[in-house]
Amino acid sequence: MSNHPSLESVAFINCALTNTDILRVILEGCATINNVKIEANKLESEAVAIISDFIQSNPPPTPTEYMNLRHNSISDDDTLLLASSLKNNTHLRLVNLAHNDITEEGEKLLFKTMYDPTSMDSIVESNHTCVIHAWDFTGKESLVQRSNPVEAEVMKINADHDISTKQKIRRKVVLALCGFEGELFDLAHFNDLPLPIMPRVLELIQEHSQIRTHCHLKGLYDENQLEKDALSRLFHTLRGWELPLLFENLHSPPPIKTGGRSH
């Protein structure tokens, strides 16, 4: 199959592909196929290890972009391996894991692959190209209904193939700085923001986030802790300031104007 000149999509449905040797050979044959579906094959941990290898090593120039693994027996424990391999893949656009044995815990782990706001580095190292679904988004519950606003925003960012990775990272950084649910503004506004005013914008966001979080959660959390969290976010932002990935068109700062003269 890998040498076929036009094959774009291959599906193995209900074929009892539980033999890992066979699965490995099939995936090797699918390395250049755009859309690979292995549905209802009772895939378990051993098979997930093979699939993770495939995801991690799927090379250009025509790597797989869509993987459908619905209706298998993939568990929360397996998501750890999948998440790890997905962090090293920049080609996949969609992995559908609906109707497996994945609970909310596994879903959270998979979501962290796309967006991990623990630090600036973890945001940069997240997967920015793939949308991972562990639930059936074609059912009654739409993506937005099913997800909280942050999840929906991250999905939107990763699914947007018209913006660069750097722009996606910038949006996720701003999202992390917002830091609380609800009333998300349109992060696309930050795409073309001039670099020199970005520090001030982030500062304002930080202040806004701190005040809003404080009001929203007053009485529920320790105020000092809230302040620490806010400072921590700011620290990570500043620490990552030198990261070339954060901003595009990073040039020398503009000359400071004093009395109409440049220095």
């Binding site: 036009s6 094959l7 291959v10 449905i13 033999n19 066979i22």
Partner: protein, 154 residues
């Protein structure tokens, strides 16, 4: 050769070998559809739906051979057909040369019990084909896919 020679096996005959009345009706419809595709020269999609039941009954598919032959003769070289979906009926290996003569871009075989010979024929078909974009295989067990292992490759 007159392409309309073959007889449709009536529902009663399928019932006599263990099919339910509902499934027997489906088999009769399947045969009518095969006849229909023989006549429709401009069709772009061939969709044949049998029934998904036990292998022991599928083994009596020999009755269907004249109909299959008639259909393959009619479809051979018909480049208007872009999509073929066959499900729930044992498929003769002789279908693959017919499929090769079309400009297929979509092939779906589900529970067609193609067996070892069929798998080899499918592999040959894929090796020589240059038009197919979408391939769906389903309902066939692991025993067929064991042929993919290196020890079976030569």
């Amino acid at each position: 050769m007159n392409r309309h020679n073959s007889q449709i096996i009536p529902a009663s005959q399928w019932i006599s070998i263990g099919y339910t009345e509902d499934d027997a009706q489906k088999m009769e419809k399947l045969q009518n559809d095969m006849k229909k595709y023989c006549d429709e020269d401009d069709t772009t999609k061939v969709e044949l739906l049998g029934v998904e039941i036990g292998d022991q009954i599928y083994h009596d598919y020999g009755w269907m051979i004249p109909l299959w032959t008639e259909l393959f003769d009619a479809l051979h070289g018909r480049t208007s057909v872009e999509k073929v979906n066959i499900s729930g009926i044992k498929l003769p290996v002789s279908i693959f040369p017919t499929l090769q003569s079309m400009d297929l871009n979509h092939l779906g075989l589900y529970a067609t019990i193609i067996g070892v010979d069929g798998f080899h024929a499918l592999s040959t078909f894929l090796g020589e084909n240059s038009s197919l974009k979408y391939l769906t295989l389903g309902g066939d067990t692991i025993t067929i896919f064991q042929l993919l292992l290196p020890c079976h490759m030569h």
